[in-house]
C-alpha cells in the first residue's frame, strides 16, 4: 500500500514537473494570468468602480461577491455539521484523557487574558472595518473575534466562555451573518439590479453608486464576520469537548 502510494505520488510529481516547463517565467508581468483583461480591469478600474483602495477586498466582496457568499455558507455548513455530528454522544467522558487538565484557572494567565481580550476584540473590529484600505476584512476580523472567545475558553474554562457566547447563540449569529449577506444582495435585487449588484443601493443610500458599493461591501463583510466568528468558536467548543459542551480543554 505504502509503496503503491509512493509510486503513484511520484508519477503525479513527474506529470506536474513536466507541465512546469510550460509555465511563464517567474514574475513575468506579461504572463497570461497577469496581463489578461480581467486582472488588468481589476487593477485599473477598482478605484473607479467601487472607490475601494484595497483591490483584494473589492474583488472579494463585490466583483466575486457570489463566491464569498458561498464561502461564508461553507463555514456555516462546517459549523452545522460539526455540531450535529458530535451532538448526542454520551454525556460523560467514556475514555480517560491521557492528560489531566488543571481545573483551577491560573491567576496570571486569567489576568493577562482579561487585559488582552478587549484589545483583541477592538483589533478584530478594526480589521473588519478597515479592510477596505488595508489588508483585512470579514474573515480575518471574524476569526480574530472568534479567537478572543477561544482564548477565554482556554484561560478560564469552556463554561465561562459559553456563558458569554452560548452555542445556540452561535448558531443564531452565524445564520444572521448569512442573512445580512444575502439580504444585501436581495435588497439590491429588489431595487431593480441583479443579485448582489450593490450599485442599486444608491437609490436608498444618500451616496453615489460607487460609494454605495463601498458601503455595501462593509455590510457584507460584517455579515461574513458574524458567521465566521460564531462558527470558529462553535468549532472549538464542540471539538474540544467531543460535543458535550462541558469541561473542555
Amino acid at each position: 500500500m505504502k509503496r503503491a502510494a509512493f509510486i503513484l505520488v511520484l508519477l503525479i510529481g513527474l506529470l506536474l514537473a513536466w507541465a512546469a516547463k510550460d509555465f511563464p517565467t517567474w514574475g513575468d508581468p506579461h504572463a497570461p494570468a497577469s496581463s489578461s483583461p480581467v486582472s488588468s480591469h481589476f487593477i485599473s478600474n477598482t478605484g473607479v468602480d467601487t472607490e475601494v483602495p484595497n483591490m483584494v477586498t473589492a474583488v472579494l466582496a463585490d466583483y466575486r461577491g457570489f463566491d464569498t457568499m458561498f464561502e461564508t455558507v461553507v463555514v456555516f455548513i462546517a459549523g452545522l455539521a460539526v455540531i450535529s455530528i458530535l451532538r448526542g454522544g454520551p454525556t460523560r467522558r467514556t475514555r480517560d484523557r491521557e492528560f489531566v487538565v488543571d481545573f483551577e484557572p491560573d491567576l496570571i494567565v486569567t489576568n493577562t487574558v482579561r487585559l488582552i481580550v478587549p484589545v483583541i476584540q477592538i483589533f478584530a473590529f478594526y480589521v473588519l472595518a478597515h479592510g477596505h484600505v488595508s489588508p483585512g476584512g470579514g474573515f480575518q476580523g471574524g476569526v480574530a473575534m472568534g479567537a478572543s472567545f477561544i482564548l477565554i475558553a482556554l484561560s478560564w474554562d469552556l463554561k465561562t466562555a459559553l456563558t458569554r457566547f452560548p452555542i445556540e447563540r452561535c448558531f443564531t449569529v452565524a445564520a444572521v451573518g448569512i442573512v445580512i449577506y444575502a439580504g444585501i444582495g436581495l435588497l439590491s435585487m429588489a431595487l431593480g439590479g441583479e443579485f448582489l449588484d450593490y450599485a442599486h443601493l444608491a437609490k436608498v443610500l444618500p451616496v453615489s453608486p460607487e460609494m454605495a458599493r463601498y458601503h455595501a461591501m462593509l455590510g457584507v463583510e460584517i455579515g461574513v464576520g458574524f458567521t465566521v466568528s460564531a462558527i470558529m468558536f462553535a468549532l472549538y467548543a464542540s471539538l474540544s469537548t467531543d460535543g458535550r459542551m462541558q469541561d473542555g480543554l
Binding site: V56, R97, E98, F99, P135, Q140, V143, A147, S240, L249
Partner: protein, 82 residues
C-alpha cells in the same frame, strides 16, 4: 537578492517542516510543527505580495486550525503509530 535568499530559505524550511510534522510520533508536537509550517507559509506569502492571503493564513491556518487540532488531539490518543 536579499528577498530571493529569504524566499529560498523559507521554501527549503517549508519542506523540512512539512516532513517533520508528518514524521513526529507525538500528535501535539505534530500539530505545533504544523502551526510553524502555516506561519512560514504566511511569511512567504507576505513576501510575495499577497498580504490578505498572508493575514488569513496567520489567523486561520496558524491560529484557529492549530487550536482546533490540539483541542481534538486532547480528546484522542496522543501518540500515533507512525
Amino acid at each position: 537578492m536579499g528577498l530571493e535568499l529569504f524566499n529560498t530559505l523559507i521554501l527549503s524550511l517549508l519542506v523540512v517542516v512539512a516532513v517533520l510534522s508528518l514524521w513526529v510520533r507525538d500528535l501535539v508536537v505534530s500539530a505545533v510543527i504544523f502551526a510553524i509550517y502555516s506561519f512560514l507559509m504566511c511569511l512567504l506569502w507576505a513576501e510575495m505580495g499577497a498580504v490578505d492571503v498572508a493575514f488569513t493564513e496567520a489567523t486561520v491556518g496558524a491560529g484557529v486550525s492549530t487550536v482546533v487540532l490540539i483541542a481534538t488531539i486532547f480528546n484522542l490518543k496522543r501518540k500515533a503509530k507512525d
